[in-house]
């Protein structure tokens, strides 16, 4: 217990030192980093292809879509909200853009991109309006829009558009100097910018306040509804962008794309230390959670764990990670 606390406080100093900008107080990040290092060592020992650029290109490309979605849902969740519809939004945006691109040059690419992103924002707006104005629990609302939007995707099930458009194709596949995937750059840029917004703008701080205690936020004169709606729009926007990356990486548009992404992303975000119910969370944590989840499946292929065992290992690692973190962050012992 004692040395645990000791480690704990040391960890905190560490985090204070080199994570300063991106972290709020009490971040799970240090334990996540420790965990990731442990994982990396194990994988690296069992297969020397793990710690290679090639491999990390793969890992990063694999979680690009989830990473981009995570950006939006993190904002929403810090503000105390929830968004399960991101997978469906990505799917719909993906297939619609693919359909729009079917006839070469029929609609100019930039316009398609704009349409795509606007679609995302609109769906986010709808979520936000239902949640704030009608006042329905966000989980129900987005569970509903999840089903609805996914259903709409199937309107285009019959034509199965492939992507021949160079720009869109490059979006999720190109590398900077043949080393750094574009997708990685997107994620890093997005995370950094959002971190700065969260830390250094009133909007960002208000998000934390609303997530921490909504009625208090109202008493403090914060325009709670407006800010909440904006967070959902942001989430929709990034889901839409993720949808574009998705069709880029898969080279086609299909109605089922993005199916089930919500749980994956939720796992990543919560593992990254974003509090369900709001008020807590930072992007460094999410980023490392992203690395962990991304590397688990990759690492298991490396160690070639039998296909059927992979699920078990993945789940076990997840539970281990979150438990480790819980123990580490338990500052006073849990009474209830």
């Amino acid at each position: 217990m004692n040395n645990l606390e000791a480690k704990n406080s040391k960890g905190k100093n560490l985090s204070k030192k080199f994570l300063g900008l991106f972290t709020q107080t009490k971040t799970p990040t240090p334990s996540l980093i420790i965990l990731y290092i442990i994982m990396a060592v194990i994988f690296a020992v069992s297969n020397d292809n793990f710690l290679t650029i090639v491999n990390f290109k793969g890992i990063f490309n694999n979680f690009a879509v989830y990473g981009i979605m995570a950006a939006g849902i993190t904002i929403v969740m810090i503000a105390g909200g929830f968004d399960l519809s991101i997978g469906s939004i990505a799917g719909l945006v993906g297939i619609v853009s693919a359909v729009l691109l079917m006839r070469e040059g029929f609609i100019p690419t930039p316009l398609v991109v704009i349409i795509a992103l606007v679609m995302g924002c609109v769906m986010g707006l709808i979520n936000g309006l239902i949640i704030t104005k009608v006042g329905i629990n966000p989980i129900i609302t987005t569970l509903g829009t999840l089903a609805t939007i996914r259903g709409i995707c199937y309107f285009w099930a019959k034509l199965n558009p492939r992507i021949y458009n160079d720009f869109i194709e490059g979006l999720g596949r190109k590398f900077l100097g043949n080393v750094i995937p574009y997708t990685t750059i997107y994620i890093v840029v997005i995370f950094v910018i959002l971190s700065l917004i969260l830390k250094f703008t009133r909007f960002g701080r208000d998000i934390y306040t609303i997530g921490g205690n909504e009625s208090l936020a109202r008493l403090a004169g914060i325009k709670v509804d407006r800010i909440k709606i904006i967070t959902y729009v942001i989430s929709g926007l990034f889901a839409a962008f993720a949808g574009l990356v998705l069709i880029s990486q898969l080279g086609s548009g299909r109605p089922e794309y993005g199916d089930g992404a919500e749980l994956e992303v939720l796992t990543i975000v919560v593992l990254g230390g974003v509090a369900v119910g709001g008020g807590k969370g930072n992007f460094l944590g999410v980023f490392i959670a992203l690395l962990i989840i991304g590397s688990i499946s990759n690492g298991m292929v490396m160690m070639d764990v039998p296909v059927y065992l992979r699920m078990v290992v993945k789940g076990a690692l997840l539970v281990f990670a979150i438990s480790l973190d819980a123990i580490r962050n338990r500052r006073r012992l849990q009474l209830y």
């Binding site: 239902i130 569970l143 099930a157 919560v270």
Partner: protein, 333 residues
């Protein structure tokens, strides 16, 4: 003075108690009427209102209902169990495996329930003792359970014929009423009594509303949460057994995505995920609405993706109406 206050308060209690649930049941009735009429019009005969349709539908959802009722109790304490789906997958594979080893059916049932309880214990432990957020913890265990299911069955589905197992899902009482429906009804009654009349039920609500206050009033918060996780584990594996029986097959895919179905049903029933609020009858209504919706629309030859759209809209509309009614009630005062 006391007496008058008492009477008036009883009145109040009645007013508050049912409103939400009542509305759901009204929606239910409307839906049933709608499907009855439309199927009459479309096909010139009554496909929907027929024993042949209603009974199998009910036994097909009985296991979902059972799990939903138990999960409602857990949700009211403010915790969540996503691992139910994986639990079902594991249980059904285990059951089939044991049966294939020629183990006695009753024993198989007992073993499976025991394993289900163990899964609950595991969830309960990491959530209450290690203080892990239950949503992500159970997302983790969900994939552990299912993975074990795949490993046990080596990814193959296994026939599971056995008198006992068969009866669990396909046996009937009085020749017509399927056994799982009886089980479902029993669970509804039990959970209803627990949540509305019993001492532990009161504690469950109190924990959901303010765990600290409950703790400082001598309630064993961790213990009760632990217990409810165990209930969920047991309920899920019972569900797994019923599903195994209904399909006469044990397969790791059983129960895939079930968690979202059940949770939507529970929320539809008016349970607050933040805890402290919820009713068993509401959950019952939620389960019925979702399943009848699917049944009726399929009956009408509606494509699956339309069904999805409609399901989503109904989910939002129902809850929206509920919210609106509530805020009106507040304004009126």
């Amino acid at each position: 003075m006391a007496e008058t206050r008492l009477q008036e308060s009883n009145k109040e209690r009645k007013k508050v108690g049912i409103s939400n649930t009542l509305m759901l049941f009204i929606v239910l009735v409307i839906m049933i009427a709608f499907f009855g009429i439309t199927s009459q019009i479309k096909f010139g005969q009554q496909f929907f209102f027929s024993i042949l349709n209603i009974i199998p539908m009910l036994s097909n959802i009985s296991y979902i209902g059972i799990i939903a009722c138990i999960l409602t109790m857990l949700l009211i304490t403010g915790e969540m169990d996503f691992s139910i789906g994986g639990n079902i997958g594991l249980t059904s594979c285990l059951a089939a495996l044991l049966l294939s080893k020629g183990i006695n059916g009753v024993l198989v049932v007992l073993i499976c329930l025991a394993v289900g309880i163990l899964m609950g214990v595991f969830n309960g432990f990491i959530v209450t003792r290690l203080g892990v957020n239950s949503i992500i913890a159970t997302i983790g265990t969900m994939s552990i359970w299912r993975g074990i299911g795949y490993t046990l069955s080596n990814g193959e589905s296994m026939l599971a014929f056995n008198p006992v197992i068969d009866y669990l899902g396909r046996g009937t009482i009085f020749k017509y009423i399927p056994f799982p429906i009886i089980l479902f009804i029993i669970v509804i009654i039990l959970t209803y009594i627990i949540m509305n009349r019993s001492k532990i039920g009161r504690r469950i609500y109190a924990i959901g509303v303010n765990p600290m206050a409950s703790y400082l009033s001598g309630t064993n918060v961790k213990g009760i949460k632990f217990l409810l996780f165990i209930f969920c584990g047991a309920a899920a594996s019972l569900g797994g057994l019923i599903l195994t029986s209904l399909s006469a097959v044990g397969m790791p895919q059983h129960g895939q995505g079930l968690e979202l179905t059940v949770v939507s049903a529970v929320i539809l029933g008016g349970t607050a995920l933040s805890g402290g609020k919820g009713q068993i009858l509401g959950t019952l209504a939620g389960v019925l609405i979702l399943s009848i919706l699917y049944n009726g629309l399929t009956m009408l030859n509606i494509m699956y993706f339309y069904i999805q759209i409609i399901r989503g809209i109904v989910l939002i509309l129902v809850v929206a109406t509920y919210e609106i009614r509530q805020s009106r009630a507040l304004r009126r005062v």
